[in-house]
Symmetry: C2
Subunit: 165 residues, 2 copies
DNA sequence: TTTCCTGCAAAAACTTTGCACTCAC
DNA sequence: GTGAGTGCAAAGTTTTTGCAGGAAA
């Protein structure tokens, strides 16, 4: 399942965001529209700095300030459009939460590669365990750390720096 | 499994640390001894700031500087004596890795309670998934987020601040 | 026209680092 | 004796915030 297909969704991320903002009596501004569009332009994982860079490079007048980007990332999290995946290089790494199926990650400690997978059995077992504690699960995060296929075979290769776009 | 018993270990954490240092040709200093002792004095989860506070309160001359504590935490991680559990309030939270069985967590988003559990089936399934990708797992982290038993029953109670010791 | 929002710069929060002195081996 | 370790203060990073001007509804 490394090639996930987007789940068909009733409304676009921008629309979903607009709906969220409406429920909170907040406004859909030019900046928020630019950000949600940029965030959902690709399915790459990203961190705040990367998003700032992407929006800073734009010469089409669609620049958005650093503060606003930080503020919006939080809001997109609240709106359940994105969520934190992991920490990488002292930064929170985000991914799409809306319009994308639940999945977990295999994280290569050498090259940083993130492989997505999903396993219903694991989710079921987890539910079962939680039930035993009277715990109501709303979501989970499962990351396995180790060496990916490539890095197992070629252990001498030096790690890529993935944080610099 | 909320009441885990410590696994019986051949050597104490301090001894394990000393061995690690020896393999790296590093030295067991007074400060490092104080830190490893304090870290393993209880099984509580902790973050850097909390450890600094604990060591700062001591009037017995066993104070250790902030820098050294940060440096040692990293080293204890490298030595596999402790490991990161999660992030809480923008800080990395650590727990014992040595002398304590592998386990995962149920994290209550309301009161912050951490419940530990272990399930071999889940670990096995994860291994199986990883094998399919040619991925070699060295460790994993599984956290379920939601509401604990108490908070399901009494949803109106206000969350405790757990970060202040 | 009333809030809410943005950008900027400054601040905050956490962590790392340079350096001179000290100490373990 | 010598290289590693420590404490301090200063700097580095990432993220947050106060505020004045600007813009949705």
């Amino acid at each position: 399942m490394s090639e996930l297909e987007a789940v068909s969704v009733a409304v676009s991320p921008s629309e979903k965001y607009r709906e969220y903002l409406a429920t909170q009596r907040l406004r859909m501004t030019r900046e928020r529209a630019i950000i949600v569009e940029e965030v959902f332009a690709t399915h790459e994982h990203f961190d705040a700095e990367q998003l700032i860079q992407r929006l800073n490079l734009r010469q089409d007048g669609k620049r958005v300030s650093r503060s606003t980007i930080y503020r919006s990332i939080k809001q997109l999290e609240d709106a359940r459009l994105i969520r934190k995946v992991a920490r990488q290089d002292d930064r929170d790494l985000y991914e799409h939460d809306y319009g994308y199926p639940q999945h977990d990650h295999l994280i290569c400690k050498k090259c940083g590669e993130l492989t997505e997978f999903d396993n219903d059995k694991i989710s079921e077992l987890l539910e079962e365990v939680a039930r035993g504690f009277g715990f109501r699960i709303e979501g989970h995060r499962l990351e396995a750390h180790g060496l990916c296929d490539k890095c197992c075979r070629r252990p001498r290769e030096r790690p890529k720096k993935l944080n610099l776009i």
